[in-house]
């Protein structure tokens, strides 16, 4: 009876790769060349030789709320709890280029992240934080040029040599069109801005990663790990092509590219995915872009725990899920990790729930002993076979994107990847409802009792204060200087050969706001309306 039922059952990874009863030597023929050494091409085993023996991953919780001073407090709390790098979450008005006192921003100020309208807000955000010693991720995309300009202006005002600044900008607009949807301008000028930031950064802020090419949101949207990596690496190829078109050598910018993947629930598939991604990028760098330096082939990534798999039911269970995701990211060789808080389905984290995220990372780092050797699962019949299979499928998809879709910028305006992703998201939801896809506590082993947990509520007072602050700022500054600076911004935008960053730095120093600068950029570039192709 048991044998018959096993035969009928289909065993697959989350992405649909068949999983057999057991793996053995035959599954890892001629592995040596494909595997390589840690810290050496093709980097399957890890981007660095010593990995966590030399230095642990950065513990970097995505965080931001209310106004700058409220977020500043939370950052100091996180640093005191052992966080080793900052990651700024901006509110939606800031992400979309609206000032906090804009009518359209009314309900969203400070709700999902910190409200930043001016250089003054950025200064307050990092007050008392040594930005020359702590690396910061600025999770900003459409308005990345403005926020980057503010960050650099702040450093300058503090007398910090910007060539020493370490950190990352997300600055990946292509994934916005595909999944996250916080775009402003049409694709062409958007990609130009991404590359303006990258070009300026590699010349002036060499320790910074001016882009974190992101698959995370695509996976959260419903994509498989195969689609996630294929779309992400294809985005990276598009940005690289634009930079090369501008006359930059691949080896000049490649080692400043960084990546960002989700860590989902299929434990071994995610580990294999990270290894496959490194190997593929190494190949792309060498074969497609003819890189001459090893570090140009090195894929470094930030792992964001998947929030999409954390249900609202029995939220404390999510501590277990997030821990497993974190462990997978560590075994997969992440450089930087964010663990999703257990209340992710309900609100942004409380102090308590985010502390548990840090403790999760710290327990794995200091108690589990998995960090004592590099790539501990290397050589596992299953992991190596899965890495090979994922590589094959991802490359297949990347070829389709290239040859059939004409590259990602073209594909996203036609809705090709969006449709695929929503199809899969829909199927996943149906599978959850039929019980085929088990979500413990939601469709299996459920209880009627409701858990009582504290959740973080948006701070109305902070939001009101922020709106007043922006109005006051406009009254106090020199309007003539602001106007002149904004004119220069418009001119730079209209000149497709100019790099906008220098005029943006000058503009933010006059306390021109995010909204004012974006408005000027909209005049030059126009705006983009999502064609809603998907339903």
């Amino acid at each position: 009876m048991e044998h018959r039922s096993i035969e009928k059952r289909k065993f697959e990874t989350d992405s649909g790769i068949p999983v057999v009863q057991f793996y053995s030597e035959g599954d890892i023929q001629d592995l040596e060349a494909r595997l390589g050494l840690p810290g050496k091409p093709p980097f399957t085993r890890g981007p660095y030789e010593t990995m966590y023996r030399g230095r642990l991953w950065t513990m970097r919780q995505y965080s931001g709320m209310g106004d700058a001073s409220q977020s500043n407090k939370r950052y100091k709390y996180l640093l005191a709890q052992g966080q080793t790098g900052l990651s700024v979450a901006f509110d939606l008005p800031t992400q979309l280029g609206y000032d906090s006192d804009d009518e359209i921003a009314e309900d969203d100020v400070g709700v999902v992240g910190v409200a930043i309208s001016s250089l003054k807000d950025i200064e307050e955000l990092f007050e008392g934080i040594p930005i020359d010693q702590v690396s910061t991720h600025l999770n900003i995309n459409a308005t990345a040029p403005v926020i980057f300009a503010m960050y650099l202006a702040m450093a300058e005002k503090r007398g910090i040599d910007i060539s020493l600044l370490r950190g990352t900008l997300q600055n990946d607009i292509l994934k916005e069109f595909l999944a996250r949807k916080a775009f402003i301008f049409p694709p062409e000028p958007s990609v130009r801005l991404v590359c303006d930031v990258i070009e300026y950064s590699i010349k002036n802020v060499p320790e910074f990663n001016p882009v974190s090419v992101t698959g995370f949101h695509v996976k959260e949207m419903g994509a498989s790990s195969i689609q996630e990596v294929a779309f992400c690496l294809s985005d990276a190829i598009s940005y690289s092509q634009e930079l090369i078109r501008r006359g930059l050598d691949f080896d000049k910018f490649a080692s400043n590219l960084s990546f960002h993947f989700a860590c989902g629930r299929d434990f071994f598939e995610e580990i294999a995915k990270f290894r496959a991604a490194r190997r593929i990028w190494s190949k792309v760098a060498r074969e497609r872009f003819h890189s001459k330096k090893e570090e140009s082939e090195r894929l470094r990534f930030f792992s964001g725990g998947s929030g999409a798999v954390l249900p609202a039911q029995e939220p404390i269970n999510n501590v277990v899920r997030s821990s497993m995701q974190c462990l997978a990211a560590v075994l997969g060789g992440a450089q930087s990790i964010h663990v999703m808080a257990y209340d992710e389905a309900l609100s942004i984290p409380t102090e308590e729930s985010v502390k548990i995220c840090l403790r999760t990372q710290q327990i794995i780092a200091y108690e589990s002993a998995v960090t004592k050797t590099v790539d501990p699962l290397g050589g596992s019949f299953f992991i190596e076979r899965l890495t090979d299979q994922l590589e094959e499928k991802i490359l297949e998809k990347m070829n389709q994107i290239d040859a059939v879709w004409g590259g990602m910028p073209n594909a996203v305006v036609r809705g090709y990847p969006q449709r695929e992703v929503i199809d899969r998201a829909y199927k996943q939801e149906i599978d959850i409802e039929s019980g085929k896809r088990v979500v413990v506590g939601r469709n299996k082993y459920t209880t009627q009792s409701k858990s009582r947990i504290e959740i973080q509520h948006p701070d109305e007072k902070a939001s009101l204060l922020q709106k007043k602050r922006v109005k006051a700022l406009r009254r106090k500054r020199d309007a003539k200087l602001v106007a002149a600076a904004l004119d220069k911004v418009k001119l730079a935008c209209e000149n497709s050969n100019a790099n906008v960053i220098p005029v943006l730095i000058e503009a933010v120093k006059t306390y021109a706001t995010v909204g004012e600068i974006t408005a000027v950029m909209k005049l030059a570039f126009g705006t983009y309306k999502d064609p809603g192709l998907v339903v």
Partner: protein
């Protein structure tokens, strides 16, 4: 002019009761949040459940959404809200609908809605609430149920005459 559109929506409500014409719903995300996986998946599910879905998408103001809802003569306005602003938005939506006297439209809000806010939304006048975790196969049922409530009242009135 108003009489004609009133009669048209009554006919549609009656017809959808006996399954002849598909119920029409407008789905939109008000405010600035662009995370539309839920809204898109629910739209797909409702389409499969026999609804006519007008997907307005992202970045709509309540006024814009209402304008399109009237133009498209929908029976339900469905909003997807993940950013915690559902109470504010619900209040504004109901206020604006009531300003259009005589307009009978049902409202539904889906997304990240803590348990304690569900009765508050009901009190504000929202007809259907779809918090995260609601099976998408049930959303169609709940919405059809809300439509039936309205048309039952109308049928009874006619019978009384």
């Amino acid at each position: 002019m108003q009489k004609t559109s009133g009669a048209r929506s009554e006919i549609r409500a009656f017809s959808s009761e006996i399954g002849k014409k598909p119920p029409r719903i407008l789905i939109a995300k008000p405010g600035l949040d662009g995370h539309d996986r839920g809204a898109l998946v629910v739209s797909r599910a409702l389409r499969d459940a026999g609804f006519e879905v007008i997907y307005l998408g992202l970045y709509g103001t309540i006024d814009q959404i209402i304008q399109v809802a009237i133009q498209e003569d929908v029976e339900i306005i469905g909003l997807s809200i993940l950013s915690g602003t559902h109470l504010k938005v619900a209040k504004r939506l109901i206020e604006r609908i009531r300003e259009k006297k005589g307009w009978k439209v049902k409202t539904a809000i889906g997304g990240i809605i803590p348990d304690e806010d569900i009765p508050k939304l009901r009190r504000l006048g929202i007809d259907v609430i779809v918090p995260t975790g609601t099976p998408i196969s049930k959303v169609g049922e709940f919405l059809k149920g809300a439509l039936k409530k309205g048309s039952e009242k109308k049928v009874k009135r006619r019978a009384a005459i």
